[in-house]
Assembly symmetry: C2
Homo-oligomer: 436 residues x 2
Amino acid sequence: IEANDGPRVTVLAGALHEADLGALIVALEPEERLRLVRLMGTHFDFAALTEIDDNIRDEILEGLPAREVAEGVRDLENDDAVTLLEDLEPEEQAEILDALSPVDRAQLQRSLDYPDHSAGRLMQTTFVTAPPYWTAGQAIDVMRDTDEADLPDSFYEVFIVDPGHRLLGTVFLDTLLRSKSRALLEDIMSADRRRVEVTEDREEVARLFQRYNLVSAPVVDEGDRLVGVITIDDVVDVIQEEADANLKALGGVSESEELSDTVFWTAKSRFVWLLVNLLTAFIASSVLGLFEGSLQKMVALAVLAPIVASQGGNAATQTMTVAVRALATRELSRANAARIILREVLVGAVNGVGFGILTGVIAGYWFGSPSLGVVIALAMVTNLVAGALGGILIPQILAKFHIDPAVASGAFVTTVTDVVGFTAFLGFATVWFRLG
Amino acid sequence: IEANDGPRVTVLAGALHEADLGALIVALEPEERLRLVRLMGTHFDFAALTEIDDNIRDEILEGLPAREVAEGVRDLENDDAVTLLEDLEPEEQAEILDALSPVDRAQLQRSLDYPDHSAGRLMQTTFVTAPPYWTAGQAIDVMRDTDEADLPDSFYEVFIVDPGHRLLGTVFLDTLLRSKSRALLEDIMSADRRRVEVTEDREEVARLFQRYNLVSAPVVDEGDRLVGVITIDDVVDVIQEEADANLKALGGVSESEELSDTVFWTAKSRFVWLLVNLLTAFIASSVLGLFEGSLQKMVALAVLAPIVASQGGNAATQTMTVAVRALATRELSRANAARIILREVLVGAVNGVGFGILTGVIAGYWFGSPSLGVVIALAMVTNLVAGALGGILIPQILAKFHIDPAVASGAFVTTVTDVVGFTAFLGFATVWFRLG
């Protein structure tokens, strides 16, 4: 690249699989990325851009003339083209669409008109259909004679439709191959094939694929007319992204944060979560402030209070993790909520008693005061039970109000365990030692 | 089921998809589950058992006579049979294997002999092969004439092998269908097809599928001989399980914990993580203990110290979440480690200054002491930078020692932020206010 040797770069990079080409682009210095794409010219496979981080992709697309992008997009499957264009600025998107042929433009525009995160954005709009009265042999002959450009890059099933393009059923390719040549398609098709509504949320689509081990699924509009097909490779990306989103949300990181973000942007996006946290930390501290008198009289309380709060916080986080995951996978529902809540409270109580005794003994020895041991033990049991309740109930309450439990639970749950932990420990101590 | 009406239950439940039958079993009371399976007798589809939690599955399998299980297992694809048997007690497994025919037993035993989590455990051992000199039409004719029982339930490609059963390439079914009838398989096959070694770790397999958008992949032994095929539906489960494992590990929950576990078992499995945490909490408290004199003289320090520790802990958790995820996806490697570490430290510094000023102003007002505000601000900057360093370095160090960073990072990271937070805040205060 440094030598600006176009032909040589093209030979070297042109043989790469799109995924490897994508990885190569990411590994390059920012200013070299655009140069690589431009050096390769028409030999550059735009599918590689679907494999890389959003902001690197947008940077490259913005650096290229709209006409060149349009050329590249034209060769892509519909779903890949949507991935490329959906995050661009509206003007830029319009410019690229204008450079396409009217047919391509209309098709792409329709996909982009479906809501974000809907099945319509994921689907491919090229697929193979056949009428029910064809025979297996006839279907194979027609496919052999069809122009390559009119077939999808890869497909796994033939959709059987009526004259109104309504979906009747599908025939998998392996079924087609093992059937007698004279078998009618309507006799070998699976009619109860699971279908996806075009406006369905992509998370729902992913759940359907996972549950029924699907490889591809037809997408239909309100009139049950076939409009596209979703294949497993797109769904795998959705599954990975959703899992990542959950993980990041629980860690207090924004879903869209990527390693290629700038320092300033990253700091800003994490600031909000830390701000919420600072607020809860001040609430917890103000509880400590209420007991200033007791703390003054008995400094051991100040030393030990964080232990009660932290142990409660960690037990609550365990419960919360289980709850958030079970809500995401729909394993936790109204049907079994009572059973699961009871289970978590009992787990909290069992571990509360265990750690109460353990902490009580250590603290009692440390400060030479068995009474202090008893007080911290009682506070520990209280806080672990409260933590279990908070950890299992708060995600469910948030979900009921349509707030993502993975994002918001953490702050509430630790507030509960900090406040209950400090209040129980210092409250019990104040009463027991008559510090009030 | 209550009426013990076998035929009726069979009619109602027999029509269900295996995934729905699995969900039905999970929703039943424990004692009814086994009854359902026994009522359905030979109509019960054992594939449903691959869709449910390990301990419910094992409970049912242990409740059934080995002969009945063997009957059910015989009808399954090899990979599903492995899923069913791999977690059973060795004696039980042997009993079931003994009830199978010698051929089935040998095949299943071989799959079970591959190491846990290897490609060998995931693969199906029924697949379609053809020699390179066949034509497309010939291949289709042979498939039509093959007995259904000798073909896999579903397949997406035909493997081209030489007489020594070494893999030469593959032909996807859609390629086969669009090729001329007289085309030779060796001319239409993709020869550079990505293959999986039978001993490869399943996480590696999942990464390969994701990266190259595969739907199925051939599995070969050391001699490059074809021994099986892995399909995407099995890989999707692996992806989901790995993501879950990461999420649970970060939340301090064991990877194998399921909603169906008993209270005692759950409490026991979470105890270990809480114990590690108690230890780190005592370490942090002993730092507070070192400054007992200062705390006695100035109780405001006891009230504010948890804020510094908590804010550092949360910032560090954000960094750690990003690091753990990037390590899992291989986005973070030696090549970009220096850049990412620098980025995280800068993010920590930026947010440290921001929250330092904010906390300093609030604390200064609260206790009417601007000096206290300055002290807490300095401690905050120190702890957020330390947290960023801990959050990015500790997972990498653990990974270098082959310890799962998702499991172990949390405890180390919060110890760092607690110790640094308390030491910085109380240390700066002791020097500034001459409390020593």
